[in-house]
Symmetry: C2
Subunit: 493 residues, 2 copies
């Protein structure tokens, strides 16, 4: 890399390894073991983002939060939008079934106790020099905690090593002119603090409501239930939140798998109180599992999910939020005039629409416009991505696979076709398992939005920090814990 010699790279590598170990930028070395390794990271900020564009997408977080809330409160739209996908995709169907059972149950009001840690992901589109939305995550948005630590780490590295600010724009960061105070180029927000503040506020709301009907209620018994996968390796991102929730608010968090919840949690059907075997009451259910069919291996997990949804806990997210995060809904939002149905501010609608990449539903491949775009995609697959409706990543189809699917899939309605954002490729140093490689990389910017509401009463709505994930330009996969991507930060210029 221009401007950094081997010794300098080695110094930064050691600093990064140290910082990661001292500050919880770690994950389990292997599932279930006690050993830890650092999370894959880039040594230095890997994504150049013009400050103006960064502020613009930060400004979208609050309207996106509000939009999700409005959509989630509209069962008609959710059912209609997802009807076709539910026929093709069992997972969407099962989620919709739970949604229907909650709304048809004894306490439909519990469906709208919403806590959200949304994350809207963007890539830089080189052609338009704008940030275009890749997806809006409404469930299990990860790295909220570790992205905060990443920003602190990159600030420290940029501040500590003078050789990084020498040589100016001809240095390690390529062409952009950077200020002398490099630290100021890495944005910092206390995402950890914002998330645990939302948890604590939700627990306080729950306790207030419980206090008002039950004099014997002990607020210490109200906990946040983190729903986890049993083979999770990315434990620290979750556990930093647990630690900080206790440190800052003296609120307890309990971790359980869906299976454990099914086995030991008891829902009082009349009042919707969900109690754990310890006697603790679930004030917030925070799902870091349940977003993928793999998380529901048996009916037990679906039972547990239904139980969570039927409780009067705040849900992060509720089943409605999860459904609203599906790509079908994203595609629906991109249609003319749809945003305006849900948001009052025309300016918000205009701003949100600016970040939408083009999307095409494939429900009716014989419809002339659909037919035309399918033909174009077959001829120009590099300009498109074919995305399954389901969340969780890793299943997007590109290039030859995309052509094959368009030609051979009997029913394309479980997919959407999307404009492929062609992002700039940048040389970065990636650190995985202690090994440092210089590589051509692509980066994706995530902006967190934190939200809390109770049956339409908005309690918190805020933008909360940024995450960058950086992957090899040669890989189409993106998982950090799986080793395909690295955590990074934006460098504003």
């Amino acid at each position: 890399m221009v401007g950094l010699d081997e010794e300098e790279v080695s110094v930064i590598r050691n600093e990064v390894l140290t910082y990661a170990a001292a500050n919880g930028l770690l994950m389990l070395a292997a599932s279930g073991e006690v050993g830890l390794v650092h999370v894959p990271v880039s040594l230095l900020p890997a994504m150049a983002v013009p400050r103006k564009l960064f502020e613009e997408v930060r400004g979208l977080a609050e309207p996106f939060n509000a939009l999700v809330e409005r959509l989630a409160g509209d069962p008609g739209v959710i059912r209609e939008t997802l009807a076709a996908a539910a026929k093709q995709d069992d997972f969407t169907k099962s989620l919709l079934d739970i949604y229907t059972r909650v709304l048809g149950g004894p306490r439909p009001d519990v469906a709208r106790k919403n806590l959200a840690v949304n994350r809207s992901d963007y890539m830089m589109d080189e052609a338009s020099q704008s940030l275009l939305q890749v997806e809006l995550n409404t469930i299990s948005s990860s790295f909220g905690a570790q992205s905060t630590v990443m920003a602190q780490m990159h600030k420290q590295v940029l501040g500590k090593f003078d050789f990084l600010s020498e040589g100016g724009s001809g240095g390690w960061f390529g062409g952009e002119a950077l200020p002398d105070c490099l630290e100021s180029c890495v944005p910092y927000e206390d995402t950890i603090g914002d998330i645990v503040q939302a948890f604590a506020t939700a627990v306080a709301e729950y306790s207030k409501s419980r206090d008002s009907v039950d004099a014997g209620f002990d607020s210490k018994s109200a906990v946040v239930l983190m729903v986890v996968q049993d083979d999770e390796r990315n434990i620290m991102d979750q556990q930093i939140l647990e630690q900080e929730l206790w440190k800052r608010h003296k609120v307890r968090m309990v971790r359980k798998t869906l299976k454990e919840i099914r086995d030991e949690a008891v829902l009082d059907g009349a009042d919707g109180i969900l109690r754990l075997a310890s006697g603790q009451e679930v004030a917030v259910s925070y799902l870091r599992a349940g977003y993928s069919p793999m998380d529901y291996k048996t009916d037990a997990e679906w039972d547990a999910r239904l139980t969570l949804e039927q409780s009067q806990a705040f849900k992060c997210p509720s089943i409605a939020y999860q459904l609203v995060g599906s790509k079908k809904v994203q595609q629906y939002l991109a249609e003319d005039g749809v945003l305006e149905k849900f948001l009052d501010s025309e300016e918000d609608c205009r701003n949100l629409r600016k970040c939408f990449a083009s999307l095409w539903a494939l429900d009716d491949p014989e419809e002339p416009q659909t037919k035309q775009v399918i033909e174009h995609a077959k001829m120009n697959p590099h300009l498109y991505v074919l995305k399954p409706q389901r969340e969780g990543g890793g299943n997007n189809l590109y290039d030859g696979d995309l052509v094959k699917a368009l030609e051979e899939e009997p029913d394309l309605s479980a997919y959407i076709l999307m404009q492929r954002i062609v992002a700039p490729i940048r040389k970065s140093f990636l650190l995985r398992n202690g090994e440092c490689v210089e590589a051509d990389t692509l980066s994706e910017l995530g902006i967190y939005g934190v939200y809390l509401s109770d049956n339409g009463r908005e309690i918190i709505n805020q933008c909360s920090g940024a995450l960058v994930r950086t992957k090899l330009a040669s890989s189409n996969e993106g998982g950090v814990t799986a080793g395909f991507a690295c955590l990074s930060t934006p460098l504003l210029h």
Copy 2:
């Protein structure tokens, strides 16, 4: 353990593992690897200490610091005290040689630029119900950083789990009556902060002195050089200091082995400036190596040590401090009237003497008193420890080995015989490699003292926090990183 069931132990274990991973209570899984495991710890405070005794030994830290400084400034006493041991022990001889060369060199004043992180270790003597000193460490006193984190962790555990404060004195901690607010029983001091404050102050002193003679001096080039072992696994205790020194004071720390210092550091003989290959000047040399003969495999390491001693950097510790920490000097201090030669305050002398265990030099085994104690030790080995002069631990002789050495060693002057402190045995939960065992344990309390002076001008002298190390009662070994002992905290009652 009385009062804790399996589920409760499991909950605490998970909390401790999480806290350790999020806060750097970690060490390398194997030497040189990038994987990390938690440091061995006790789940809960493992040492009961009456608050009054704890305050008493805290009060000894400042006079001990002052005592070490006075002794280190008295070459006659150092040479005389260690003359016999130097004949027997090559390591002591080599250290004394360096000491002599520095004092006889062009700038003997550099020998008295002292920074100390001393740690006085105590055990509870059951017979006298007092804390007796085991040893006074003047070099490489470890766990200053991680002991701070341990105190925070145990405070959190005690505050978070109500079942620990239920059941009162009949609970997990045995017989002592404890207050409702268990957290308040774990003392907390910011040892990390005190140590890095001393480093930063020393760097500022160095820079002031350099500035006054060299207008071109750049204070950013003044660094703390941490001298490390090349196979160190206990890296985090060291690296937390490096991180905090930067975070709190924007002072850089550089790690090098003695070998690397020999290869790349250059000492300007005239002005005593020690420069690294990077051009940085060593303002403080902080030894986390060099305390054991194993650290000096070739002449290169001895050369490096001499270079460090001849520089005008503050030394943590200087060769004189290291020599003063030897057991021969400890034994000398226990002689009648010796403390009074070095300390002005009679009260300080009285208080220090109260914590001395009985010690016997073995220089002349035919001297009647010595002969008598040797005979007594052979008959009652369980009341004695035979300690080699050298530092570093692990070589103390007990029981049969002690008898054998007393009978067979041709020259006993390299050893001292010491009253064996019979400490109370307590059941504790020890966590090593993720595995939790309940065991009979013995604990040792360390009290840190931080000190800074320049040729007798005292700049910092303070007590700075506590460490507890807990080991199986069945083991005579005590190393934490080696897996024999666990970090813990005192519980004041």
